[in-house]
Amino acid sequence: MNKATKLRASMMEYVEGTIFIAPWFIGFVLFMGFPLGFSLYMSFRKVNVVATGMTSSYVGLKHYKDILLEDGSLLYNDLIPFLQKTLFMVPVIVIFALLIAIVLNQRFAGRSLFRAIFFLPVILSTGQVVSELLTQGEGALGFMSKYNVSGLISGNLPATWATPLIWILDSFVLILWYSGVQILIFLGGRQTISNSAYEAARIDGAGPWAAFWKITLPAMTPFIFLNMIYTVVDLFTFPTNPIIMRVRDSEYGQFSALIWLYFIIIGIFLIIIFILFSRATKSQRMVA
């Protein structure tokens, strides 16, 4: 094969790839890229809705200044409690999902029945259904009121941290309802660990406890990472999320600025998780 035909063949491959990706890319530009740019543009403008349509005038960074520096009620009042809750919720969801996934992987009678039950949240937990189901005070754990746990917490912790912690415990069941997809991801991930690794460890004299820490957990690290990302994105973009709720009724220029700031905060959160995990996997590799 001479150079020219080789070049043409590789050109052809690029053309084929482009044809495959083109529909998605067109959709991305139309339904994501353009709207994103539009809302970024509008976040620097003051928008007035009048009878004939919309007029807008340039205000520069005013919206951003208002939100960040002037008026705390726009962002901080909702954001800070929400971030505190998220800090508690993400580990709870991920650890619970990991525990359930590992248990569901064991062989025992009635496994398929339990699996069917644990997929219920995947089917039900989006949208209105959960809030509808759990509005009747089904969210709390029984022992909370019995032992006056919330009194104990608020007595021993500063109020800024006691409130979200009590909220977490009060709506513990609700949190577990958010872990459906995470259980699925862990179940899928658990399948990637070959049984021979466990057999080898067992013959070596490692108990299930050691096997969990030495084999399961390291092999699951990428999935824990994935689940944390998924959970953060899910929590931050949930329609009943307080910031997203309030964003709907403010005016459009400010709305755009607010949600862009919010988007940046999500990004920072994800970057932090990413850095933590790349450190963790690096140190793991060094040990291995």
Binding site: G17, F20, M32, L36, I100, P121, Q128, D204, S256, A288
Partner: protein
Amino acid sequence: MDKMLAKIGLRTKRADISARLGTKLELSADLSWLSKVRYSIFGREADKGLLFKLFIYVILIDAAYIYLKPVLHMVTSMVKDGADLLDPSVNWIPRVVYFGNLQDAWAWLQYPKAFGLSMLLSVSVALLQTCSCAIAGYAFARLKVPFKPVLFFFLLITFIVPLQLTILPNLVFARVLGVLDTVLPIIVPALFGLGLKGALFIIIYRQFFSTQPKELEEAARIDGASVYKVFFRVMMPLAKPAILVVFLFSFVWTWNDFYLPSMYLANTETPPLSLGISRIASMIRAQAEISGPSIFTEPISMATTFLMILPPIILYAFAQRWFIEGVERTGIVE
């Protein structure tokens, strides 16, 4: 990783021999019955013993209870009649099964019409996303695409951008095109592999395709098959587990989603079920603010919820076996 495995392998052999020696010695001991008892409680390999089984069941039953309780509560309270609601001795099991609530909910939701609309939305979005996301996912996994890293970065952006950031321009878009209050603004993005969680589905497909052996495609290419033939004849039939997972997720999420319908279908006479129940819920809340909370509204809201989640549950009951298998065969992630 390879080194570790090799090490484990070496140790395995050594341990195997010593283990065999160990069992022989143990058998000869008089106290063998004691170890038998110990094995049956703690298990020969610790995860086969009674204690461990018990532990598993305790965790699972506890967690299953958390998930099942609200569902059972929903089913029992929606068939309670007025007398049962007032009687504090009737907690879980109603004395008479009363279908009036369901009938009311059926009428309030305009069930047949709303069901049809929900079905139309979910089935078309699910079908479109199943195809379009597969095509994009295959391109991301295997094909040569110019600026692939940049495009992949865009894909990740799509995944993490909250819907609310782009909804207003899209609304304006829809109004200009005159398709507001029709199903088109919800369905058309799915045609392009966007729409509700489209990016996630593309990522699922990408993971799936990149774990498949390359030899299959190469063989087909050498036999003279075009890339389109390879994709539709070789890769898609292989991707059944991924297809099932994406279809089911897409169907269920679109079915339950009320945000997009509440934006695009706000002024339609019959809203889809998800929007319908959220309207009824806010109606009940408004009522409660005026005349105080009433216990009689609970069966109604439970009945509406039941009517909404019934179809996906039936679908799941049928697809469940393949679905779990699909997830396990790296349908989700790798």
